[in-house]
Amino acid sequence: MTHIAIAEQLDDSHEPGGFVTKYIWSQDHKVIAIQYAITAIFVGLIALVLSAIMRLQLGFPDSFSFIDPSSYLQFVTMHGMIMVIYLLTALLLGGFGNYLIPLMIGARDMVFPYLNMLSYWTYLLSVIVLICSFFVTGGPTGAGWTLYPPQAILQGTPGADKGIILMLVSLAIFIVAFTMGGLNYVTTIFQARAKGMTLMRMPLTLWGILTATILGLLAFPALLVSAIMMLFDMLLATSFFMPAIVSLGDNLAYTGGSPILFQHLFWFFGHPEVYIVALPAFGMVSDVIATHARKNIFGYRMMVWAIVAIGGLSFVVWAHHMYVSGMNPYFGFFFATTTLIIAIPTALKVYNWVLTLWRGNIHLTVPMLFAIGFIFTFTHGGLTGLWLGNVVVDLPLSDTYFVVAHFHMVMGVSPVMVLFAAIYHWYPKITGRYFHQGMGKFHFWLTFLGTYAIYLPMHYLGFLGVPRRYFAIGDSNFIPDSAQTLNASITVSAIIVGIVQLIFIYNVIWSLKYGKKAPANPWGATSLEWQTPDTPPKHGNWGAKLPVVHRWAYDFSVPGAESDFIPQNMTDSEVTWVSGQPPQDREKT
């Protein structure tokens, strides 16, 4: 098998030659990772601008003529879809997954490098199709990121002619790209680990990515199924999801279909999707916390079990998005119970992060600041999830700003905090230089405080009952004028947070050239990616000889060892022990 060669010895069959093969048609997982990351961040910036426009309308209604109800809904839709799928999923798995998997398991590359390259180009195609929808007549779809039929394909919704088709096609292409990438990730993790790297010795980052990838492989088909059937309903006049309808006065030819069927399919994908984003973030933040607190992750096994349990449970909670959808109300009992059960492993993860800090020796570096910020925002967002998961509490709150605040806190701010932590953490390895500390700290403080200033008050608009996806509230007898003031303040915070991200981008680019040169392992980390012979790692990652793993990924501050960390590829005899001998019993210390 030629693929084995990749893992065993340096295979220069796809060693890049010129610029084009090195940076464009590259099969090197690191280059592909960076391509994924740049593309994802680019579309993410578009989505960020869209959200700023939405906020302007909500904060200062009737002040801007470039936004009307149609474009508002289109921006809402595209913002949501881009952020969830094209930014978070792509950046966490396509970006970090690609970069870290081979390095962390001690492989030379993915097992199918060509497929990996194909995965990126297919992803890029899906992004291009998505962006095209901004330029067709009628604009992109404004059906909300959930794309619920019937409205997604009826005339009363903006972008119902071409926008929705491009959206569905783009999603289908994305799913193909994800499947190619995903097959690669799981196969690589299962088949190409270095000698001695048992599953339980892997850093939690890999556990998060592995579980999330498996979730993605099994959940994305649900989205594909619903997209295909909706396209059929639209283009071939079938009635999968479409019942008899009178749309804007026209009697349509549909009959008998079920819109709720779509919702079941959508959320069977949609809920695992939350964890496809969250689990890699959980994993990466665990590694950042352990490294910068100089302490092993507390309860490693519990952390792994929790990731696996959350992954499994995420397939049986989907209908908690549908408590008020008109489905059989008896489902509520089951789904409320499973949803609240999933809170238990999630809570344990939070405890373990905090307990990792306890009796650690915490370096408050920029990545660590973001990780601590993550614990705070995730606790907040996770706890409001218990509100919405509990079926009767969801009744008054569903479809209000409480929901918007909740999922932005838990799925927007929190994973993004981890993404920043991860980018700052791995930046020296990826580029060989430090980022600028001062700019990084400034970026952290404004992002952390700014996002909280956006989303804490937003929950209270939800308590009040302000509905989401409203272009304007208009006159109302129970929403006080002060709510508008609150909205304006949220908008101001949002604009500030948005602008601050430019500093991040500037920092990333500036440091590429002017950043201080970084050593191979600046944070004193244990996992394999920090032990490469070159920084940044060269093609093939490991020079002549693959690493052999002798310990788990969290040997920080091991009693008796002189250094406060022992890399995974170091044998006991290579370690300098204070007493000259490794201590006998490592379990009880």
Binding site: M1, V186, T198, G256
Partner: protein, 224 residues
């Protein structure tokens, strides 16, 4: 299940490593097989979801199964049985070509060619069924049962054609490199793939030609 016992391992204890364990033994590695298994899991999920959707859609008032009464088109499913024969033969050919060591290369290639021919016959057979249905006025949007029939058989054909493409690529590479060992390993995967195609087809066949009463029973069992 090794994974589950593995999950209880305490990785911080220094005695754990077993450098010769299966996971680290390059001789037992087979990325192609792992990838194929996961890929088929994805495809199974896809068909599973379609089937669940189909079953729940059968319980709506406007659903009219394609069989169950003498005048319904699939009551006579001869053509579908013939098609089933084709794909079965294709699978048998693959089995012969990959399972027996003593089979020589010309025979092997002949078997593969036959398998491709039978697969293509299957595709045309399915197209024939489509044409018959359409000619009888059973169009894709006439009834959800029809929609599902076209959709599911269509997807299955695409799934099959994907396999044919992969196979052609293998043959092409064989012509270039003549690396027989590699080819044999991959041929095993292709055979596995075709067996999987049959299973999916048999499930679809059974479902699509079920009568309204059968759907009712299934739906009751599943608790729709």
């Amino acid at each position: 299940m090794a994974i589950f016992t593995g999950l209880r391992e305490k990785p911080w204890l220094s005695q754990t490593p077993d450098l010769a364990s299966a996971a680290n033994n390059s001789a037992t590695r087979n990325p192609g097989k792992t990838a194929l298994k996961f890929f088929l899991a994805v495809v199974s999920m896809l068909f599973f979801l379609f089937i669940i959707t189909f079953l729940s859609r059968t319980q709506f008032a406007d659903f009219q199964a394609l069989t169950g009464k003498p005048w319904l088109p699939l009551e006579n499913s001869t053509q579908l049985w013939i098609n089933t024969g084709y794909i079965l033969l294709a699978s048998v050919c693959f089995q012969i070509s990959s399972a027996f060591k003593q089979v020589n290369y010309p025979t092997k290639l002949l078997m593969i060619t036959l398998a491709i021919v039978f697969s293509v016959l299957f595709v045309f057979g399915q197209l024939g069924v489509w044409q018959t249905l359409a000619a009888d006025g059973y169009l894709i949007n006439t009834n959800p049962a029809n929609s599902f029939f076209y959709l599911l058989t269509g997807l299955h054909v695409i799934h099959l054609l994907g396999g044919v493409l992969a196979l052609l690529r293998l043959l092409f590479r064989l012509a270039l490199t003549t690396n027989h060992q590699q080819f044999d390993a991959n041929l095993k995967l292709v055979t596995f793939y075709w067996h999987y195609l049959i299973i999916v087809w048999l499930v679809l066949f059974a479902l699509l030609t079920s009568s309204t009463e059968t759907f009712k029973t299934i739906a009751q069992l599943c608790g729709f």
